[in-house]
């Protein structure tokens, strides 16, 4: 027992001293610190290893893009590039780079860094950013302030590439084969308004303001992003003042906050939630062959009540989806989001669904839906374990499809399992082994190029998870990628969304909403296009640069601890036990040897 107690005391002292050594020196009075809670977790400050949207956001705080995004409509605006022009055939683009910018280690930033970054991605096939660099032949920096992009065709999304510009003097030394493993440990060398200085994986990341930022020093001294494990702790932290901002609280909790002290905002996020099908036409595909028939898939649209899914599974947070490009993130003059007309929209009508299925050649036989060979149709439906909304929606969908006479086998799986099924290879043959699944897409940058590419034949067994293949769609995709004129491009993109709406490789269900909650002590929030100003938006980070306290002063974290309360409780318990021992063992009269 003594050994145990000694062990505990030793551990205590070790923990206390270890932490004291690891942190920075005594707290600076008057340091302005903004604390943010989110459910996400930053694993890496290496942009090439970024997986979650939170990591991209940190990357944009550490690094700059070439061309940024306006807060109100996400239209291009100068960031590291001050101006740009194109040749008459629009295949060559010239950007002027801002002068006087320095990396955080003092080395000047030049056009050579820009060229290096893009060439590195192109030459080494860095998968995460290839989607933005398709069509670029190479990038040249004739002098320190000019960058020239040579493209193979007029590149439509050249002004909307989400590529962080990295310092050549650091990244040039890293072998391309190892680049995703490179830790890029804090302090990160970047040109952005903040610098990551401390990362404790699974817990928090600390960013220090870059006082020499070309866009003006941020008004806070530090931002700390803290990983919470669930929404309970986030709400508590906000209410107690332990954090100032919470990202992704539930609507119920947000609405319960006192509006005099806190502000709660929701806004449509980028991307959508969908029910996806295995549309693979490969002979080896293990998906149910009825899903190859787009008429079958289209009929199922009538059996999905998107409004109900929004209300029940997403608790009303968001809006019903239609096209694969979400609304709200484009200038009103040129909104790429397509909305079906009133008579194009699929109403929720199980009878219509049944009729459509029968008309497509899948009749009912004794209450069971059969395929063209007369066999009952069984479809697997999978939802991800960590997505509660999708699971609820899947339950609803399983119910509706079941009423159509389809036999639905519903299961909850890990995303690794689903990915394994989708990218299943038997020997050299591509053998996707799934039927229906529920997932979502989140956008990086606002150019629709990437999400549209998911449905092309080229992305089957790559980014596509529905294995959709349609030559007509592929042609349209290539066309829009080369149409720089925005209005012309919009017309093509609308046609593509309409085609997808009809052919239904996905049933898009909901555009989900992000939420932000912050204490009214802080001001300077820059409104985002859809309303939740600092929810996960890696495209525009003005809010973080601009935020400041409403009344001047410094922040002090809650310092009052209850150590004395605890010590008091412990003493009380000891006293009680001691008294009891004394009293009970005292009594000698009652000699009971046996009972």
């Amino acid at each position: 027992m003594l050994v145990l107690i000694l062990m505990v005391l030793a551990a205590f002292l070790a923990a206390a001293s270890a932490e004291a050594v690891g942190t920075s020196a005594s707290p600076t009075p008057g340091k302005l610190v903004l604390r943010v809670d989110w459910l996400d977790n930053v694993n890496s400050t290496n942009p090439f290893a970024a997986v979650g949207i939170c990591e991209y956001q940190i990357d944009h705080l550490n690094y700059d893009l070439l061309v940024g995004f306006n807060a109100t409509d996400m239209s291009p605006r100068p960031e590291l590039a001050t101006s740009w022009s194109s040749s008459s055939d629009q295949k060559t683009w010239t950007f002027k780079i801002r002068q006087g910018v320095k990396w955080s280690d003092g080395v000047p930033l030049t056009a050579k860094d820009v060229a290096f970054t893009f060439n590195y991605i192109i030459k080494n096939n860095i998968a995460g950013y290839l989607m933005f660099t398709t069509g670029i032949k190479d990038v040249v920096a004739p002098d320190d302030t000019t960058v020239v992009f040579n493209c193979n065709y007029p590149k439509a999304d050249i002004l909307r590439m989400w590529v962080p510009i990295l310092p050549e003097h650091i990244w040039g030394k890293i072998k391309p084969a190892d680049v995703t493993q490179y830790a890029n440990n804090p302090p990160v060398v970047g040109s952005g308004p903040f610098q990551s200085v401390k990362l404790v994986r699974g817990q928090y990341i600390v960013l220090k303001a870059n006082k020499d930022y070309w866009g003006g020093a941020p008004k806070v001294d530090e931002i700390i992003f803290i990983t919470a494990s669930n929404t309970n702790t986030m709400v508590d932290d906000l209410k107690s003042g332990a954090v100032d901002v919470v990202i992704d609280m539930r609507v119920v909790q947000g609405k319960a906050l006192d509006p005099k002290k806190f502000t709660f905002q929701t806004g449509l996020s980028k991307g959508f939630y969908e029910l996806g099908f295995n549309c693979s036409t490969s002979a080896y595909s293990k998906g149910n062959p009825v899903l190859k028939d787009w008429k079958f898939r289209q009929a199922l649209n009538y059996a999905v009540d998107k409004q109900k899914i929004l209300d029940v599974a997403f608790l009303g947070q968001g809006s019903v989806a239609s096209g694969v490009i979400q609304p709200g993130y484009f200038p009103k003059s040129c909104d790429y989001h397509w909305q079906p007309s009133a008579d194009q929209t699929y109403p929720f009508d199980l009878n219509k669904a049944s009729e459509a299925l029968t008309a497509a050649g899948y009749p009912l036989k004794n209450g069971v839906r059969v395929d063209k060979q007369g066999k009952p149709i069984t479809l697997r439906l999978e939802a991800l374990a960590n997505m509660q909304e999708n699971q609820t929606a899947a339950k609803l969908i399983a119910g509706w499809f079941g009423q159509l006479g389809l036999n639905i086998q519903y299961s909850v799986v890990d995303d690794g399992t689903l990915i394994g099924q989708q990218y299943n290879f038997v020997g050299a043959n591509f053998t996707p082994d799934y039927d229906m699944f529920m997932w979502n897409w989140t956008g990086l940058g606002v150019d629709p190029n990437f999400i549209l590419s998911v449905f092309t034949t080229a992305q089957v067994a790559n980014w596509s998870d529905c294995m959709y293949s349609n030559p007509e769609y592929d042609k349209l995709f290539t066309e829009q990628a080369r149409t720089v004129d925005q209005q012309q491009r919009k017309a093509i993109i609308w046609k593509m969304q309409e085609l997808l709406y009809q052919q239904t490789p996905y049933v898009t269900m909901v555009y989900a909403a992000d939420s932000t909650a912050f204490s009214n002590k802080w001001q300077g929030w820059v409104a985002s296009p859809t309303g939740a100003c600092v929810a996960y938006n890696a495209d525009n980070i003005d809010s973080w640069v601009n935020v400041h306290l409403a009344t001047a002063g410094s922040t002090t974290s809650k310092s009052g601890t209850n150590a004395w309360l605890i010590i008091g409780i412990v003493c009380a318990v000891v006293v009680v036990l001691g008294t009891a021992t004394f009293v009970i063992t005292r009594r000698r009269r009652d000699r009971r040897v046996e009972e």
Partner: protein, 475 residues
């Protein structure tokens, strides 16, 4: 010929068992609001007694084998053999029909005859018990007497009675669930209030709404089924494995005993929770998986207990005598060891159920349970994940937790009472020669405290010694 009491018991318990089975299988789409006839019709609904065909077939094989063996062995037991074979034949017929003719498949379930077969099966089993009592009057007498004695002693233990009452309440809650809360209230779009809506005096809103506005009361009532069922079935598996391993490794010496002990030790040290997580990641999440996991990780406790007991019994003289006569190992294990450890196992099992229920709560809380069903652990998980603890939504947090505490305490009290009743009395009577007073038996001490083995706290019966203590008395 047959003790009167036994006759009464058969008359009472057969219909009760029938009612129990009916309620367990009762279809979920018949609601009280639909009227009396619809409810009564539920008792002969096609879903009653829809066991998978392979279980019926397996049971049929067992009974047929047993019946034929009895018929061949003993002239006196002919009638019993006939009844047992009859049961086997009935099960075989049921298995064939349930599998579907033509094209028999082992997973398929019967259409509309389950209730008939089930009833016939129970009647036949009752006849079997009766016939057995007639052919073995002394055994029947002593069994009746033992049970009555146990019940008398149990009754005087007020904690045990309290526990029993609590358990009866919850078992009734679980069985009567289809009548107490319409199953339709569990589907995701059956909202009774807005999210986290408060309670009101309407029946389904008594506990308010959960994070999707569904009725917490309905979820609570239906969760009782899954929580209790998982606990009971998992315990059954665990006890069976544990007993077999315990008797086997305790009785058989040599390498077989060693292997048995090693296996027990390995499973004892496996951290069950990470093990469970790995299994769930591999084979998917469902309550069947949870049952298997709990069963597979909690048997070492029972095995250790049984093994210690078997080691003691092995040394007793009646076992020596049986060996001298030439009885085979398996015969001795079955006829001499097993009945003597039975009472120990029985009390232990009840305590293991309590731990199994706590384990199920843990596993469901971590998300390893079914996506479509509710258990108390799942309710706690939903409340935690949706922020109920931070709000705090007391009516979402309290009912499942309190129910778990009550059920666990109920099983613990009953188990402890049974322990006190069964162990000193029966063991002293059966053990014809007990050579010396046993030294403080740490295993027993721990078992007395109601602490047996199992995943929940990971407590282990203390039996660090390999052999029973060789001398009594301490200074």
């Amino acid at each position: 010929m047959i003790p009167a009491r036994l006759k009464h018991w058969i008359l009472i318990w057969t219909p009760l068992l029938w009612l129990l089975l009916e309620l367990v299988w009762y279809p979920k789409n018949r609601y009280v609001s639909q009227g009396v006839w619809r409810i009564l019709g539920g008792f002969i609904d096609g879903r009653i007694g829809s066991y998978p065909a392979w279980t019926l077939l397996a049971a049929a094989m067992v009974f047929l084998g047993w019946g034929i063996a009895t018929l061949l062995k003993d002239v006196k037991a002919r009638r019993l053999g006939v009844v047992i074979t009859g049961v086997g034949a009935l099960l075989l017929a049921w298995a064939l029909i349930a599998g579907g003719l033509p094209g028999w498949s082992p997973g398929q379930r019967s259409g509309s005859f389950g209730w008939l077969f089930q009833m016939a099966l129970l009647v036949l089993l009752a006849c079997g018990v009766r016939v057995w009592a007639v052919t073995n009057p002394e055994s029947a007498e002593s069994m009746v007497w033992n049970i009555r004695e146990v019940w008398h002693l149990f009754r005087s233990n007020w904690l045990g009675i309290l526990g029993l009452c609590v358990l009866v309440v919850f078992v009734l809650l679980a069985l009567l669930a289809p009548f107490l809360a319409a199953h339709s209230y569990l589907s995701p779009n059956a909202m009774v209030t807005k999210p986290f809506g408060g309670p009101s005096f309407s029946y389904y809103k008594l506990f308010g709404g959960d994070e999707q506005g569904q009725s917490i009361l309905a979820e609570f009532i239906w969760s009782a089924r899954i929580s209790l069922a998982v606990g009971l079935v998992a315990t059954l598996i665990s006890t069976v494995i544990g007993t077999l391993m315990g008797i086997g490794s305790g009785f058989l010496g040599g390498w077989r005993g060693e292997v048995g002990m090693r296996t027990t030790d390995v499973f004892l040290v496996l951290p069950w929770l990470p093990f469970a997580m790995v299994l769930a990641a591999a084979w998917g999440r469902s309550y069947v998986m949870i049952i298997v996991i709990i069963g597979v990780t909690s048997w070492p406790g029972t095995a250790r207990l049984v093994r210690a007991e078997t080691l003691k019994l092995r040394k007793l003289q009646f076992v020596e005598r049986a060996k001298a006569i030439g009885s085979s190992d398996s015969h001795i294990m079955r006829r001499h060891i097993l009945p003597n450890v039975f009472s120990l196992i029985f009390a232990n099992t009840i305590l293991v159920v309590a731990i199994a229920i706590l384990s199920e709560t843990t596993l469901s809380f971590l998300g390893l349970g079914d996506a479509l069903n509710f258990s108390w652990g799942t309710m706690l998980r939903n409340s935690w994940a949706s922020g109920a603890a931070g709000l705090p939504e007391w009516l979402y947090l309290l009912p499942p937790g309190i129910a778990i505490v009550l059920v666990v305490l109920g099983f613990t009290f009953v188990g402890q009472a049974l322990d006190e009743v069964l162990d000193p009395k029966l063991r002293k009577r059966e053990a014809s020669e007990n050579t010396r007073p046993s030294a403080p038996d740490h295993a027993q001490g721990a078992a007395d405290a109601g602490l047996v083995l199992g995943p929940s706290g990971g407590m282990v019966v203390a039996d660090a010694l390999d052999e029973p203590p060789s001398a009594g008395g301490l200074s």
